[in-house]
């Protein structure tokens, strides 16, 4: 698996999404919980806007000085006995991890949840290297059993309900109990415990790397990252190159923003930081620690008008308020990064060719901008993507280009505009019945498949106003 998920064309993916009632119910109810939770935490904190501003400034500063902080991070991880590898591409990152696995002759790898490893397709690479990979985040574990990609960046199995999960456990692991969440979770715990104990290597992602100390930090609610990092003797962390903070102080701010914005919690049940290997005189820590810092297209975004997209701390608040995501679910986006941030990031990281529909998968309602805890201008970046698709990539449909040329001519000529305003009603007459259009032509076709469109007014406003000025036209 890599960034792109599935092979079906966009329209089919959307159709599949809207027809999946189970998924849509699950998404709507999860969105409800996340929205309420986030709002409650923001209100409770009081000066939420100041916090967002601070978050935004921290991210701006860090990205503006990313070379400096990456060097600092790398130096500090090395000082603590870790090996640091800068991977320019997904392939380089995978190859490095494969080599560690092979050298260790590792048979089993346990992982905690990580979007960047999904992005680079690390699991497939590990299997190629002959290792058995076990995802230990409950949602990821369910998906792994079911061979299903994530549909959300924080709660990856959001699209599944408990009945479906019971079914998966029964089919893949011989589970024979009820679909109560407690029983399901207990079963997963029992199964996973054996994997934790028998794993040769632990692989983690990274929520934030603290440059000043080389500490790689994870937030989880299940404690699985703590199990992954404390049991196997060989540890590997994989991080996107932008996921770092200068010092512990900024970690405090961004973690506070992340957990509140993501799941409406002041703090998750576990916040875990690990630093390098077991050094002389220390009682715990792994024998071997590797930090893989992944570029995979990120440095090309630096210094461009899209740099702020790299500010993302993967909280999914934008996904949770998105009314489009609500109707189609995550898989319809065809990228492991769905929702508004996915629609912005996917074309940047995975290319316009693969993801050209995504910037249009938004009604531009602006809900994403309102909640982003680090104030990424998602709304504006979606529009900017559209401009690039139209004006630089030349990927827009011909009919649309023609229509927009016509629009420009119409809207810059008051005479042409006036004429059309007077003629609109007549022009649409063949399709109008009782002041109503139920099966419209051209661009109205899609609209009128699910709703009516009114016939234009009998008299345009401007003509009414003119008559009124001439004297005495009643309303």
């Amino acid at each position: 698996m890599s960034m792109k998920i599935g092979h079906a064309p966009y329209k089919e993916r959307v159709q599949e999404g809207v027809e999946n009632d189970f998924m849509r119910q699950a998404v709507a109810s999860a969105q409800g919980r996340f929205r309420d939770g986030r709002q409650k935490q923001a209100d409770e904190l009081g000066n939420w806007e100041d916090w967002r501003q601070l978050g935004s400034e921290i991210r701006t500063h860090t990205l503006e000085n990313i070379d400096y902080y990456l060097q600092m991070l790398s130096d500090n991880v090395s000082k603590r006995g870790g090996k640091v590898f800068f991977a320019q591409t997904a392939e380089e990152a995978n190859e490095y991890v494969q080599n560690v696995i092979k050298k260790k002759n590792a048979k089993k790898v346990v992982k905690s949840k990580s979007m960047v490893t999904e992005e680079i397709g690390l699991n497939e690479a590990l299997q190629e290297a002959g290792a058995d990979v076990v995802e230990s985040d409950l949602g990821e574990w369910i998906l792994q059993l079911d061979e299903d990609p994530p549909s959300h960046i924080v709660t990856p199995a959001l699209h599944k309900n408990k009945e479906q999960i019971r079914e998966t456990f029964a089919q893949k692991r011989g589970y024979d109990k009820s679909d109560s969440p407690e029983e399901l979770a207990l079963f997963a715990r029992e199964q996973l415990r054996q994997d934790f104990l028998s794993a040769d290597v632990g692989i983690t992602g990274c929520n934030f790397a603290v440059a000043e100390s080389g500490a790689i930090t994870f937030v989880t609610n299940e404690g699985n990252a703590r199990m992954v990092t404390s049991l196997p003797d060989t540890q590997i962390s994989v991080m996107g190159m932008e996921r770092l903070v200068p010092t512990w102080e900024e970690l405090d701010v961004l973690t506070s923003l992340l957990t509140r914005a993501a799941v409406g919690q002041k703090l998750t049940s576990y916040v875990t930081s690990i630093t390098g290997t077991r050094l002389e005189g220390e009682t715990d820590g792994p024998e071997e620690y590797h930090l893989v810092i992944v570029d995979n297209g990120r440095s090309k975004i630096l210094g461009t008008e899209f740099q702020e997209a790299l500010h993302c701390i993967r909280c999914a608040a934008c996904i949770n308020v998105c009314p489009v995501y609500r109707q189609v679910g995550g898989h319809a986006y065809g990228s492991i990064y769905p929702g508004p941030i996915g629609a912005v990031l996917s074309p940047l990281l995975g290319g316009y060719e693969e993801h050209k529909e995504l910037p249009y998968a938004s009604s531009l309602c602006g809900a994403c901008n309102e909640v982003c805890p680090v104030k990424i201008p998602l709304h504006e970046q979606l529009i900017r993507h559209r401009q690039i698709i139209v004006e630089e990539k030349g990927m827009a449909p011909k009919a649309e280009k023609l229509a927009m040329k016509g629009f420009a001519a119409w809207a810059s000529s008051p005479a042409a505009y006036k004429m059309s305003a007077a003629a609109a009603r007549t022009a649409l007459k063949p399709w109008s019945k009782d002041e109503n259009i139920t099966n419209g032509p051209g661009p109205l076709k899609g609209w009128t498949e699910s709703r009516d469109f009114p016939a234009p007014a009998k008299q345009s406003f401007r003509s009414w106003f003119k008559e009124r000025q001439k004297g005495g036209v009643a309303k």
Binding site: K11, S363, C365, A367, V390, T438, F461
Partner: protein, 239 residues
Amino acid sequence: MKVSLFITCLCDIMSSNVGKDTVEILERVGCEVDFPELQTCCGQPAYNSGYLQESKKAMKQMMKAFKDSEYVVGPSGSCVGMLREYPEVFKGDPEWEEEAKKLANKSYEITQFLVDVLGIVDVGSTFKGKVTYHPSCHMTRILGIKEQPIELLKNVQGVDFVELPIKEDCCGFGGTFAVKNSVISGEMVEEKSRHVTETEAEYLVGGDMGCLLNIGGKMQREGKNVKVAHITEILNHQS
């Protein structure tokens, strides 16, 4: 006070009554209303679709049309929101940047103008019925107008106001979004229509004709007996 009406192309052609109501409300509160005939469309359909060059042609036309206006007032949060974006669009353009700023600074959505500029929260109208209100996205999120329309509505005599569930969610209009992604848009408006029904309101009121055409068209297709009204219709209603 002299006010130039920015009718918006949608109201001009599709829903001219909204324009008439807007003029009458403004006159009733003492404004002198003119209608600059050079105005066309704010350019948003092209701008939001990625056609920057095409949209600029429309925008320049609008700047010319309202050059001499003191205040520009329109019955749409979304279209006025577009005018307010002009300075960003023409940033660094020596010929147009100043004009863009001027137009943005004097443009107001009608409820915003009544409440924030004129300080009027009661326009002295009467309207009997159970009313719910859909806060359109650009009005609330781009212009930041949240309380003004509600305050005006609640002060209309006879209005029985009910809150719309999940009111902040987009209705699925989104301009060309409703055409380009008509399937998703259709699902969004279906959910919106469901929430309107839950309120048992007789009227769905909003401040943007695009959203209202969308929600109204859906409810009509579903055979629902809920009427759709632009907020100016309620504010200009007597008896």
